[in-house]
């Protein structure tokens, strides 16, 4: 792909997107629908609009890419890979979009290696409920200029603004990426044994570990792992993940393999997860059972409601969708 100098001016694609969204009726932005049920589906009668597509610019030496929200993750990652880089975006399959992933806000499976998605968003352009194109953040990798609108947009499910274009931080793809698998080894000891694992996954019996870096680093880390926790074998990739996504504190994963009645009383979860794959050191659990509703304090709900009222006074953005529910996860 040609390397284009970053042009941060608002282009026609964005103004046309704003025109399509309008300023009056209930509206939602539709991406690849790969996580469409997260937070609940939009209310009946909501008009669907697709976000603009295309990579506006990509400068590998700056480690930033300017990309329109409707661009597929596949297209972006392919362009980045051509220059030996990648982003923190998760991969959800064909059709999933950059804007959709940011609106949902879920991290990649190998978040320990790629970094959190929310930290990778440098600048955001979104269309406000009243039809203005709003810019928040900035194009540089470091920036504390004003209030942090990009952070607010990640995980807000499009209920505060409709993502149009973003600037993402990119990172080099490591020289070597290796998945290892060990039967019956202690996943927590494996996590402790490694300096910077990219992922440690555990299904209660088997542990999968992703190590990245220079080949000599990966070899040395693998050797240390074997010494400290037991034998592992190289495999092609991670296991298949159950459908539902839970969010727990890393400590809460320690007792997942025990029957609920045997777990310490202070331990969570106290409800069945079913078949699972847990991300050690992170707290994400993919499980066959959905995560029950999580409590949200009244004080947080008050601020969240005020935020919604400030950004979308008439409630026209993604009506029916609630960032504070576990529905669809």
């Amino acid at each position: 792909m040609a390397k284009i100098d970053a042009d941060t001016k608002i282009d026609r694609a964005l103004t046309e997107f704003a025109e399509r969204l309008g300023a009056d009726d209930p509206v939602a932005v539709v991406g690849g629908r790969t996580k469409w049920e997260v937070g609940g589906a939009p209310a009946d009668g909501t008009r669907m609009v697709a976000a603009p597509t295309g990579i506006v610019s990509y400068l590998p030496s700056e480690m930033v890419a300017v990309v329109r929200a409707g661009t597929t993750i596949t297209e972006l990652q392919s362009a980045l890979a051509d220059a030996g880089q990648r982003s923190a975006l998760p991969y959800w399959g064909n059709g999933s979009t950059v804007g959709g992933a940011l609106a949902v806000g879920q991290n990649s499976l190998d978040v320990l290696g790629r970094g959190r998605l929310r930290a990778s968003l440098l600048q955001v352009r979104y269309v406000s409920a009243d039809g203005h194109i709003i810019t928040g953040g900035g194009p540089t990798v470091k920036n504390v200029t004003g209030f942090d609108l990009p952070r607010l947009m990640v995980g807000s499910l499009g209920t505060l603004g409709s993502l149009a274009e973003v600037i993402l931080r990119t990172n080099p793809i490591p020289d070597t990426m290796r998945w290892l698998r060990g039967q019956g080894i202690d996943p927590f000891a494996a996590f402790d044994a490694l300096f910077r694992p990219s992922a440690v996954l555990w299904d209660g019996k088997t542990t999968w570990i992703k190590i990245e870096g220079h080949r000599v680093d990966v070899d040395a880390e693998q050797a240390a792992l074997v010494r400290r926790v037991g034998p592992v074998e190289e495999v092609d990739g991670p296991p298949e993940l159950p459908a539902h996504r839970w969010s727990l504190a890393p400590r809460e994963l320690r007792h997942l393999d025990q029957p609920i009645t045997d777990r310490p009383k202070t331990s969570n979860p106290t409800y069945p997860v079913g078949r699972y794959v847990a991300s050690i050191g992170v707290g994400t659990v993919w499980a066959s059972e959905p995560q029950p509703a999580r409590s949200v304090s009244d004080a947080i709900r008050t601020v969240a409601a005020r935020m919604k009222a400030e950004f979308d006074p008439t409630g026209r953005l993604n009506p029916g969708r609630d960032p504070y529910t576990t529905a669809g996860m």
């Binding site: 970053a6 941060t8 590998p60 030496s61 700056e62 480690m63 880089q85 806000g105 879920q106 991290n107 970094g115 929310r118 930290a119 406000s128 194109i133 810019t135 928040g136 900035g138 540089t140 990798v141 470091k142 920036n143 504390v144 200029t145 004003g146 209030f147 942090d148 609108l149 952070r151 607010l152 990640v154 807000s156 080099p172 300096f195 910077r196 870096g213 220079h214 080949r215 000599v216 680093d217 070899d219 040395a220 969010s247 727990l248 504190a249 890393p250 400590r251 707290g283 994400t284 949200v296 004080a299 947080i300 008050t302 601020v303 969240a304 005020r306 935020m307 400030e310 950004f311 529910t325």
Partner: protein, 498 residues
Amino acid sequence: MVLNRVVEGAKRLVSPDRPTTSGDPLLDQLRGALTADRVHLDGVQRSLLSHDASVFEGGVAGPVCYPTSVDEVVAIMKIADEHGRAVVPRGAGTGLAGGAIPLGAPIVVAMTKMNRILDLDIDNRIVWVQPGVINLDLTRYLRPLGYHFAPDPSSQQVCTIGGNVANNSGGPHCLAYGVTNAHVVAIEAVVPSGDVLALGGLDAEPLGFDLRGIFVGSEGTLGIATKVAVTITKNPPSVRTLLLSFDSVRDAANTVSGVIAAGVVPAAMEVMDAKITAAVEHYVGAGYPLDAEAVLLAEVDGSEAGIDIDADRIADVGREHNATEVRFAKSEDERALLWKGRKTAFGAIAQIAPDYYLHDTVVPRSKLADVLEEVYAIAERHDLLVMNVFHAGDGNLHPLLIFDGREPGVLARVHAAGDEIISASLAAGGVLSGEHGIGVEKQKFMDDMFSHADLDHQNRLRRAFDPTCRANPGKVLPMGHSCADIQALRRVPSGVWG
């Protein structure tokens, strides 16, 4: 750390105590909620806490409170609400953008007595701390246990975690590890209504809006942090530190871009020009070359097996850009000395002139060399001495304008040059601040970077936390946006407080 504060005009004088036990319900209520010895109205306290490390003069601290618990912070907020008073939180006061100075005569809430490390939670890779814990103290506590707190601003010997949260602080080692926002997972905060919010959480992906993320870097305008869960970062098994010398700042800057383009993201890449290295060398004897126009201090960390690969790549890129010397630190002592030089750079300037003004902008790495040349030209046009020591890997410039504030007219030249440096950075596609924040320093430039509608949305974000604009009002957003306007209307007439 700023050694000498530049004062425009005479310092505002704070009158001696007024009677404190009668006729003053605000003060009585505050002393009832805390204790009398932790609510001050004496001239020294108020004068001291009317300033921070910036050059800016604002109003004067009203009552100064030193809470020791979240309940006391809640009480302060509710009393302030009852009396319609603004509240200005502060940590160590090392901010350089005037974010902690009072405007009008607000209640100043000094968080320095809430300074305990509460709970180290290795399983969750976090530690809960109170906001008054000093940055370096936290790392000193963690390091023997195999961890550290990654953000390491130059003021880390005195700045507090609460201040780091307020400013989203950075530091040399944030190139690879990220700034404060990347290292804060949860915050207990008291908002102006007196409500206590649990922002974020220890779980992998907390539900809802990222209120934690927007609180970090909000410069005390959304509320007061009373407890913070920060991530602890494993100490690297191995570290390599390099010092590369160049005949031009341009070669040093281009090396930085070249290293990133080569696919290496070092832990740190710092550039210092000849004037600052000479000052540092004379000050602490860090072993910097005196015949180089610029030096690049680079550090990589990781596993021992492969660490030399990245270090050698950096050295190669430097040589491709005409490095005259590439030196690897041969011992931990040598490495520590090289970093001591970098971290004491601002102190070293006192040998040259009594005052300095430190700027903070960020530009794309590829524009570093051009903008630096422009910075030198700006200083020359205004007949000022400028030194550059900066976080080159992030494109984060820190031009230091050096001067003697006693020289007639010099301050006008300093401010004019500063304005041009900011304009040059924005013209190069940069931003107003990389780590110091906006405070009162750069409010007037916000319109240059954002549209009216953009700023309106920033103000909406703020109002969701603080509908009546009582938390550190008059900061960040420029006049023309509600909190700044409300503060202007609320300025307390002189004489009301003492």
